[in-house]
């Protein structure tokens, strides 16, 4: 079983090219030096953390996501293919959103069942018929990928709402460059620090037509008690925009205003990191205090742009996921570059039958779940767990999908004894505005426990710096 995992450094035919320079690096690293560097890395992260948010009382180190110093490396050629595939998918997802809130051609063409789209909780009736600036709904598309072979990548899921984690991509690089500058002098690692500038440019490019000056962009956070507050303040700071809470904004007339010491200032674009349901108590949950009363009216009358657009969630639903390759063909007339993982929809009776019969071999997920919760990894679970989960699936089949257990690739990862292969995934962040942009980098998550396939930070996952080696 273990032999069948693709090792990104040591493939069956020996040391793979992108990792050649790293072999000497780690082999020549004395154990004490490594420990010192690891401690230094943690110290750097804590200092960043303390700059932007204070974990618990006075910087609780347990809250830091473990950082593995061994970088993950892609060649320019590998990345080119990924980049084309990711951008293609991001365009297709946006075309889909723009379509289902307009005429729903893909549904009329019979390619996606109407009920899967229109009865979906994430389909937002309030924005039906509304076309956001440039027709873009999802401005930051996070696509979770896994690799199973030298050439084979699969998309695990799409994140069209507010994918998080990009601050780790930026910070991991920052920390690596500070700790091992010579690695960057000796290798042509493509920089990722343009991300914040690109994000700002992307957000500014979707300012409403009514905006006739340099757009005022803000980042809307639920507040400092939110677990991702660190990332919110980090990104706002890098982009040089205000980090606002709902109480900092108000609606008057046809616009949304920010409360400043110089009086109300008109806001043009809101990069929101709160869910649709909390955006506006006059449109969605009436008990929400995180949002801005009246915001949806301003949005729908073209006074402000909300990124991602309310209702974008209908595209990243796990049941819709199956149809993304169809979207690529339908809207773009192209062949999908990235493959989906074969997926069984438990809502379909044939699929359900197969899933229940083979559940011990499969990964079963909740349609609306996230973060690795509400999920069964068949081969890694004991019999009782599998049976209990099977019962849940049988009871409410439409709530589940199943996929084969993928042989996730491994990357060398520092462990007590030296290095060892650990399973990894990949989350690049594609920006969609006037242009579609992707920085040459991503967040690599690594399952630090031997044999584990779960990379989520809430369940023992860590992160790595992800390199793309630029061409000569």
């Amino acid at each position: 079983m273990v032999a069948s995992f693709f090792n990104e450094m040591y493939a069956s035919d020996g040391l793979r090219a992108p990792y050649q320079m790293l072999e000497g690096w780690y082999q020549n690293m004395p154990a004490e030096f490594r420990a010192l560097k690891q401690a230094e890395a943690e110290d750097l992260f804590r200092r960043y953390g303390i700059t932007f948010a204070v974990y618990g009382e006075g910087g609780d180190p347990d809250r830091l996501i473990p950082f593995d110093m061994f970088p993950r490396v892609f060649t320019a050629q590998e990345w080119r293919k990924l980049e084309r595939g990711i951008k293609q998918r991001a365009r297709a997802l946006n075309a889909f959103l723009s379509d289902v809130y307009d005429r729903g051609e893909i549904v009329r063409a019979g390619l996606i069942p109407a009920d899967l789209v229109y009865r979906n909780d994430a389909y937002e009736i309030a924005v039906a018929g509304f076309r956001p600036p440039l027709g873009i709904f999802s401005h930051i598309v996070g696509i979770d990928l896994v690799r199973t072979g030298a050439e084979q990548f699969y998309v695990l899921e799409d994140n069209c709402r507010t994918p998080s984690g990009v601050s780790y991509m930026l910070e991991n690089r920052e920390v690596m460059m500070r700790m091992f500058p010579h690695l960057f002098q000796e290798n042509r690692v493509a920089p990722v620090d343009g991300y914040a500038r690109l994000l700002k440019r992307t957000l500014a490019s979707v300012a409403p037509a009514k905006c006739d000056r340099d757009p005022c962009v803000v980042l809307l956070t639920p507040g400092h008690f939110n677990s991702a507050y660190y990332e919110h303040s980090f990104l706002a700071d890098l982009m040089g925009i205000e980090l606002v809470e709902g109480q900092d904004l108000f609606v008057e007339g046809d616009f949304c205003w920010m409360r400043t010491t110089e009086g109300p200032r008109k806001v043009d674009v809101i990069y929101r990191r709160i869910d649709d349901a909390f955006l506006d108590p006059l449109c969605f949950r009436p008990d929400s205090t995180l949002g801005v009363p009246g915001l949806m009216n301003v949005y729908r009358s073209g006074g402000v742009t909300i990124c991602s657009a309310p209702g974008a969630g209908v595209a990243d639903d796990k049941a819709i996921y199956t149809y993304v390759p169809e979207m690529v063909r339908f809207y773009l007339g192209e062949t999908p570059i990235l493959d989906n993982v074969p997926t069984w929809q438990c809502a379909k009776s044939d699929d359900l039958k197969y899933v229940l019969e083979n559940i011990g071999e499969l990964v079963v997920k909740e349609v609306h779940g996230s973060g690795g919760y509400g999920m069964l990894v068949g081969p890694a679970s004991d019999r009782a767990t599998v049976e209990a989960f099977a019962a849940k699936v049988a009871e409410n089949p439409s709530n589940y999908i199943a996929q084969p257990t993928l042989a996730l690739s491994t990357c060398p990862t520092f462990v007590d004894e030296g290095i060892a292969p650990r399973h990894v995934d990949l989350r690049p962040y594609c920006l969609v505005g006037r242009d579609v942009e992707l920085v040459p980098g991503a967040l690599t998550r690594v399952a630090l426990t031997d044999g584990s396939l779960v990379v989520n930070s809430s369940q023992g996952g860590g992160v790595k710096d992800t390199w793309v080696i630029a061409e000569e």
Partner: protein, 272 residues
């Protein structure tokens, strides 16, 4: 028929509030059954946003008042021509796919009693048409919930109304929506006005009914409270998933305390 509408909503605050913001759905949209002759929404001292049409085809407008607000008065007055289309909504420009109206909210979520009501009603009607099914459901709701003001309140859900065994137009409408969904009909809540001066009570002038989507026919109104389909006595303001979602006024008071609400609605048929 030509109907004149006068609708005044006034909030008086016990102590001044920091501000108030409201999303109004108080202007009827044009369709085959109604055509506005003149219409105005007036709120003294308020900043009023421009009205826009949402995907459901309703006119929406934001109004707000800031700093030490002691009261707010929203006055709607207008004249509208209505035509009886036997409850069928035609010529209404909207963008929401009917299948999107199959979802329930907390207020339309069915309970056992509603499930039973639907089963009992449709059990012997297998051969009847979809339109007949909708009529049967509306009639069943009228029968199950006698009209009784005070039996329910503004936040009562369909299930709670069924338990109470009585209700007003809001309850009839939400229960009917819940029933229709169980029978796989898209259904929605409509708020509007009813010219009920002949026999109805004054507060019925602000009215609500359900619309059920019948394949081949489109959206059809059903007023379970009055055991009929909307005719030229009805003015349609807007729709939504439930009473809250379709409310003509939805607002928020900032730093609010006690308030006194006073509503006057007068509908008159103009002599022709």
């Amino acid at each position: 028929m030509i109907l004149k509408v006068f609708h005044k909503t006034r909030y008086d605050f016990a102590s001044p509030v920091a501000g108030i913001i409201q999303s109004l759905r108080l202007t009827p949209a044009k369709c085959d059954s109604q055509k506005v002759i003149n219409w105005s929404v007036d709120v003294p001292d308020a900043v009023m946003g421009e009205a826009f049409r949402d995907g459901a085809g309703d006119y929406i407008q934001t109004i707000s008042l800031r700093k030490r607000v002691e009261h707010i008065e929203i006055t709607v007055s207008g004249t509208i021509e209505t035509i009886d289309t036997a409850g069928v909504l035609r010529g209404h420009r909207e963008r929401v796919p009917p299948r999107a109206y199959l979802r329930n909210t907390v207020r339309t979520e069915p309970n056992r009693a509603i499930v039973d009501l639907v089963q009992d009603t449709l059990r012997d009607a297998a051969s009847a048409s979809a339109l007949e099914h909708a009529h049967l459901l509306a009639a069943a709701v009228s029968e199950a919930l006698p009209y009784r003001p005070g039996a329910t309140h503004a936040h009562t859900t369909a299930a709670e109304a069924m338990n109470a065994g009585a209700g007003v137009c809001q309850d009839h409408t939400q229960v009917l929506i819940s029933c229709a969904h169980l029978a796989d009909f898209p259904a929605r809540y409509v708020s509007g006005y009813l010219n009920a001066t002949e026999d109805g009570s004054a507060h019925e002038a602000s009215h609500a009914w359900a619309e059920i989507y019948i394949e081949g026919l489109g959206w059809v109104g059903f007023d379970a409270s009055n055991k009929c389909c909307p005719n030229d006595q009805y003015i349609r303001l807007g729709s939504g998933l439930d009473a809250q979602n379709a409310a003509p006024l939805r607002g928020l008071v900032l730093g609010g305390g006690a308030e006194v609400l006073d509503v006057t609605v007068v509908i008159e048929a103009q002599q022709q």
